[in-house]
């Protein structure tokens, strides 16, 4: 991870003059003054200080008996609970790693199908007027449906198996990805399509050289939003009608007033979210290497 990203600076701003000169418009996200922090060894750890302080305070609430450990179990207890869920699982919850595998599978399958459908629809809507007229109103409509309101509907339609959860995840993933990819394609400067005509580019060449790279910055923003929405959808879907998975573990724990288990599972969700976010960041750095502020590094 670059020093910039550690500082939480979104490294995507472009000098405005240059993009005009090249006849392209680049969607700029957060634009912050980039005071380049040189990579100093202390910097990486400096960012760990405040989380550590919070952890210590949290532990102290237990040491000084400020809050009941039933309500807020201290970090030390969570470690034990987590280890027990892995090494000595009991039937009421199942093992943490088992739940993790099941949830990850639902997420992966749902996200994959949601993303593929979103990309196909966005490309069709972005590149043709007919496609736009046919597809966009449907997706815009879909966007306004409260997703979690569909969970009971899916329960009736598909039961409590994997399918309804995968569908919810797919829906949650597809909407932001569609919207951003579509907007990304539409934001490509028409002059570049004109260039394609002048150079006699075939359809595939135009797609590969103009459409995909042109829409990619915005599509990656959508990808991040999609990942967030999909994890959230999975948590909710698994809590309402499931007999396995991380969400099911939370519901079981709530029944037995085991807040420590709930905390452990939430922590696992957080780690999963961080991992997927990290993957997208890596993709962004590779795919957006042409931007001058990244080139300069």
């Amino acid at each position: 991870m670059s020093a910039l990203e550690q500082e939480g600076v979104s490294v995507t701003s472009v000098r405005p003059g240059r993009q005009e000169a090249l006849g392209v418009e680049i969607p700029t996200r957060k634009r912050r003054p980039v005071s380049l922090p040189l990579r100093r060894p202390g910097r990486r750890f400096r960012r760990l200080i405040s989380p550590l302080v919070v952890l210590i305070l949290w532990q102290l609430t237990h040491t000084f008996k400020l809050i009941s450990e039933l309500k807020l179990p201290p970090p030390s207890e969570l470690t034990t609970t987590g280890w027990n869920l892995i090494a000595h699982p009991i039937p009421a919850y199942g093992s943490l790693q088992g739940a993790l595998v099941i949830s990850t599978q639902r997420f992966a399958v749902g996200f994959f199908f949601g993303a593929v459908v979103a990309l196909i629809l966005a490309t069709a809507a972005g590149l043709s007027r007919v496609g736009e007229a046919a597809i966009d109103p449907l997706v815009q409509g879909l966007r306004t449906i409260p997703l979690f309101g569909l969970i009971p509907v899916f329960l009736v339609m598909f039961g409590i198996g994997d399918l309804p959860k995968i569908l919810i995840v797919a829906l949650a993933a597809s909407v932001p990805l569609y919207l951003n990819t579509y907007a990304g394609i539409r934001s490509i400067d028409g002059k570049l399509f004109e260039l394609g005509r002048v150079l006699g580019l075939a359809r595939g060449e135009l797609l590969r050289n103009v459409v995909i790279p042109g829409a990619l910055p915005q599509a990656l923003v959508g990808l991040r939003q999609s990942l967030g929405a999909a994890w959230l959808a999975l948590v909710v879907a698994e809590q309402i009608n499931a007999n396995s998975g991380l969400g099911f573990m939370i519901i079981q724990a709530a029944t037995f007033l085991r807040n420590d288990i709930i905390f452990v599972v939430l922590l696992v969700y957080t780690i999963l979210g961080l991992i997927t976010d990290w993957i997208v960041r890596r993709m962004e750095r590779r795919a957006l290497a042409w931007r001058p502020d990244l080139v300069a590094q």
Partner: protein, 255 residues
């Protein structure tokens, strides 16, 4: 041999060389936008290897004419014939920012040695050190060189240049003029240069065609060796004539 006879000999040789090969043949061309006529009754022929400058004020229709010749605008009336390979360079260099310089030049080429060909062309425009650069890191002049290389790599019979030096500073522009002339001497494509700069037109062109209100209002033939001296008596006279036709009366003013 006097200068005049030598010039005449050069022209005669060139004319012989290209006899019968018209790259552009436009007859009675018209174009209207929403009922408003932008071009009318345009007759224009460009011979192989000839440099023609198309000048005019903003809105005179010169860019529209170039777009029609480039095949980007088909909503015209009249006859337009363009023979051979055509390449275009735009005012904004119009590079794909997400492709490296070499890939930009090789874009759309289908041969196996496309990268090698692109590299050779980039060396010819003096950018051999920038093969792997990203376009957004280039200066305006460098970006235009890439754009020229991308046009030349297609080995065109006709190069359409749409004010390609308009956004450059004066010194860079002069360098680009030299570069274009050097490349032209080696390859001899016909060039149709759209510009609003009378000096640029007179420095480069065999023929200056002046457009006003969508018609060809005036033509000047320039029979002088290049590079040309701006102070050359003949050029000064032509400059004044062209500027007068454009409605400017100060001597030597640039539009």
């Amino acid at each position: 041999m006097s200068a005049a006879t030598r010039d005449a000999a050069v022209v005669a040789e060139r004319t012989q060389l290209v006899a019968g090969t018209r790259v552009v043949d436009v007859r009675g061309l018209g174009r209207a936008f929403a009922g408003r006529s932008v071009l009318q009754g345009i007759d224009l022929q460009v011979n192989a290897g000839e440099i023609v400058a198309l000048i005019g004020r903003s809105g005179s229709g010169k860019s529209t004419l170039l777009r029609i010749l480039a095949g980007l605008d088909a909503e015209f009336t009249g006859g337009v014939e363009v023979n051979g390979r055509v390449a275009v360079a735009f005012q904004d260099a119009r590079l794909l920012p997400w492709r490296r310089v070499r890939e930009n030049v090789a874009l759309g080429l289908r041969n196996d040695d496309r990268n090698a060909v692109a590299e050779k062309e980039l060396r010819e425009v003096g950018l051999g050190d920038h093969l792997r650069s990203w376009p957004l890191t280039l200066s305006g002049g460098e970006a235009q060189r890439v754009s020229l290389a991308r046009a030349l790599v297609r080995d065109p019979n006709l190069m359409l240049l749409d004010e390609p030096f308009g956004a450059l500073d004066a010194l860079t522009r002069l360098e680009m003029h030299e570069l274009v002339l050097a490349l032209w001497k080696r390859r001899r494509p016909a060039i149709l240069l759209v510009t609003h700069d009378v000096d640029e037109a007179l420095a480069l062109a065999d023929r200056v065609v002046l457009l006003a209100d969508g018609r060809i209002a005036h033509q000047e033939r320039v029979v002088l060796d290049r590079p040309r001296q701006r102070e050359n008596h003949d050029l000064v006279e032509k400059r004044i004539r062209l500027l007068t036709e454009l409605g400017v009366h100060e001597k030597g003013a640039v539009l």
